[in-house]
Amino acid sequence: MLSMPELGLYFSFLLFLVGLFTVMFRKNILFMMLGVEILLNAANLAFVSASKITGTIDGQVVMFFVMAVAACEAAIGLAMIISLYRAKASVEADDLKLLRG
């Protein structure tokens, strides 16, 4: 039987995979951004679980930093998506094809 923090750790791996697949296979940029947020939160969960398992407090500190960073990234990303939508009236990744060597 897995203990609670270990369960959290394995669940964070699952979340990480979900996030990675969302970023890689979704075509809508908004959903891709959601995938990035899932990835960051998976890492957060892993840090908190690791903090409990190792009995040190560093991991919980990291979590707060990451939450701030995730907020910054979301702000920047949404701003970009809005500008893109104004220019192209679309947020699909397939419409981003001006830059092909």
Binding site: S12, G35, T54, I57, D58, V61, L84, L99
Partner: protein, 540 residues
């Protein structure tokens, strides 16, 4: 318990020495905020603001001078391991501050650059440089990650800075999505390493044995290094680089292609040199594969492209592959001095060469297309010989032809790799250097041997000022001087990494003595003893 916390607080809280040593970072942050504030009082928000540029220049010059003034100081760790004041970080402060200064001047002296030069750009550029400095001087994962994100978030905005340009917006979004994913991957790797070691400090990871017996640690280190490889644009994580380099303004491209790679390379040096003190064949293999792929892809894909900036982007992918030689040598022998010297020397030389090359491109783009094609350079040698000559020197340097700077850097890299038994990778690098010579030479053929055609361009009179020639000339002279003298200075750097006084992070258990009796817990007893001895020894 009180005592323990007090002793730890003494180590973590900033001291007077910290403010002195970290003054370049603080100067940049203060300068950036001042530049932003000055923007509030401007009459026309779309006009360039030279007051904020002046503030930025002053703070950057001061930031570059401070490390030189303080160069005699002994290596010391501040804020726990959050800020390491040692030779490596002082060196990186100078390079980053001067590189940012060069970027700002290059923007201010070109017509298109001046249109960008609003206070926000100055502020973002300086925040980004401050982030780079935080990164290169950090001694643990948390500070490093914070610095990385300060830089990345500023850069996402900088790439998409010309909001009217849909291409730039598209490049910015690509960069943002991939960059944020890479950051999350680095973070997950950090979590796994932390799970294994129980500490975020790189100096605590000396015992980390990376083998399949410790799957979490191995996987974690792999994730961290792959995420960093993305930031360095090492193949197969390079797909964003050509798009982003092509779509942003050349001066900003120069900044991204050089200083970011320089700083991330130094971080990899710190991680490999300090944390993975055990030689690891798994990491050697990782860098072998990444390096070989990157060198091969960078050298061959550049051949098929017609856009000069895309070509230089692939050249930078190949150059990031050359870094891998030093990384692999370091992974094979973490105490290797020659690998350290080769990496710092080559990273700095590469920075000078590419900053120069992109500054010349920005100069040529003035009054012409944003994205120069190869055939547009035809006949440049007779139309504007100074620009053509400067570009030739930088391209020769990147190709590694002896009189220019790149040769010694490559020589040192190969030397370091061969002495650690990585002969195969060194041979691969030499072979593909020859291949990459084709595209460097094809540019030179266009410039010097082909006659000017209807499409070909020249430097416009408005940006052809004496000051601009002086700026480009400085970069040429620096790269030639390094080339002739050889990067001897790399061996004069002090590679001693500052380390914290030996102590153990305060654990959850020691903060709550009721849940685990401190006397009966052997781990806590050991920690307490270590802390007591640390508290008795005077701090440097």
């Amino acid at each position: 318990m009180e005592q323990l916390v007090q002793a730890r607080l003494q180590e973590i809280l900033p001291s007077a020495g910290f403010y002195l040593q970290a003054s370049p970072i603080l100067l940049l942050l203060v300068g950036a905020l001042a530049a932003l504030l000055l923007g509030v009082f401007r009459a026309d928000p779309e006009k360039p603001n030279f007051t904020s540029l002046g503030v930025a220049v002053v703070s950057l010059v001061a930031a570059a001078a401070m490390p030189l003034v303080l160069r005699g100081a002994a290596p010391a760790a501040h804020l726990g391991s959050g800020f390491l004041a040692d030779g490596l970080s002082r060196f990186s402060f100078v390079v980053i501050a001067l590189g940012t200064l060069f970027t700002l001047f290059s923007a201010a002296l070109t017509e298109k650059g001046r249109q960008l030069l609003r206070p926000e750009l100055v502020c973002l550029l300086m925040f980004s440089s401050a982030g780079l400095m935080v990164m290169t001087s950090s001694g643990e994962f948390l500070t490093f990650f914070t610095g990385l994100e300060i830089t990345s978030v500023s850069l996402y905005v900088l790439v998409g800075y010309q909001r009217q340009d849909v291409k730039a917006l598209e490049a910015a979004l690509k960069y943002f999505l991939l960059g944020a994913t890479a950051a999350a991957i680095i973070l997950m790797g950090m979590a796994l390493v932390y799970l294994h070691v129980g500490s975020l400090r790189w100096s605590d990871m000396g015992t980390l044995r990376l083998s399949p017996d410790a799957p979490f640690a191995l996987m974690g280190m792999f994730l961290v290094l792959c995420g960093l490889a993305f930031k360095l644009a090492i193949a197969p994580f390079h797909s964003w680089a050509p798009d982003v380099y092509q779509a942003s303004h050349s001066t900003l491209t120069g900044y991204m292609a050089t200083l970011v790679k320089f700083s991330v390379a130094l971080v990899v040096l710190r991680i490999l040199g300090a944390s993975v003190a055990q030689a690891s064949s798994n990491l050697v293999l990782l860098f072998w594969v990444l390096g070989a792929l990157s060198i091969a892809i960078g050298s061959t894909f550049g051949l098929v492209h017609n856009s000069v900036k895309r070509m230089l982007a692939y050249s930078s992918v190949a150059n990031a592959g050359y870094f891998c030689l030093a990384f692999a040598a370091l992974a094979a022998n973490p105490s290797s001095v020659s690998a350290r010297e080769a990496l710092t020397a080559y990273a700095a030389v590469y920075t000078v060469l590419n900053l120069g090359a992109f500054a010349v491109l920005a100069w040529l783009e003035d009054g012409n297309n944003e994205d120069l094609l190869k055939e547009e350079l035809s006949g440049l040698g007779s139309k504007s010989p100074f620009a053509a000559l400067a570009l030739t020197v930088f391209l020769f340097g990147l190709a590694g032809i002896p009189p220019a700077a790149g040769f010694f850097g490559k020589f040192m890299l190969i030397n370091a790799a061969v002495s650690e038994g990585l002969t195969g990778l060194a041979i691969l690098m030499v072979l593909f250097s020859v291949v990459s010579l084709f595209y460097y030479l094809s540019l030179m053929v266009e410039m010097w041997l082909k006659p000017a055609s209807r499409n070909s361009i020249a430097v416009t009179a408005s940006s052809d000022s004496g000051l601009h020639r002086l700026l480009i000339g400085t970069a040429v002279v620096v790269s030639l001087v390094i080339g002739v003298v050889g990067p001897r200075w790399a061996s004069m750097l002090d590679y001693t990494v500052a380390t914290e006084a030996p102590s153990v992070a305060i654990g959850v258990r020691s903060l709550h003595p009721t849940t685990a009796t401190a006397s009966s817990d052997p781990v806590d007893a050991v920690k307490k003893k270590a802390l007591d001895t640390a508290a008795k020894t005077p701090r440097p």
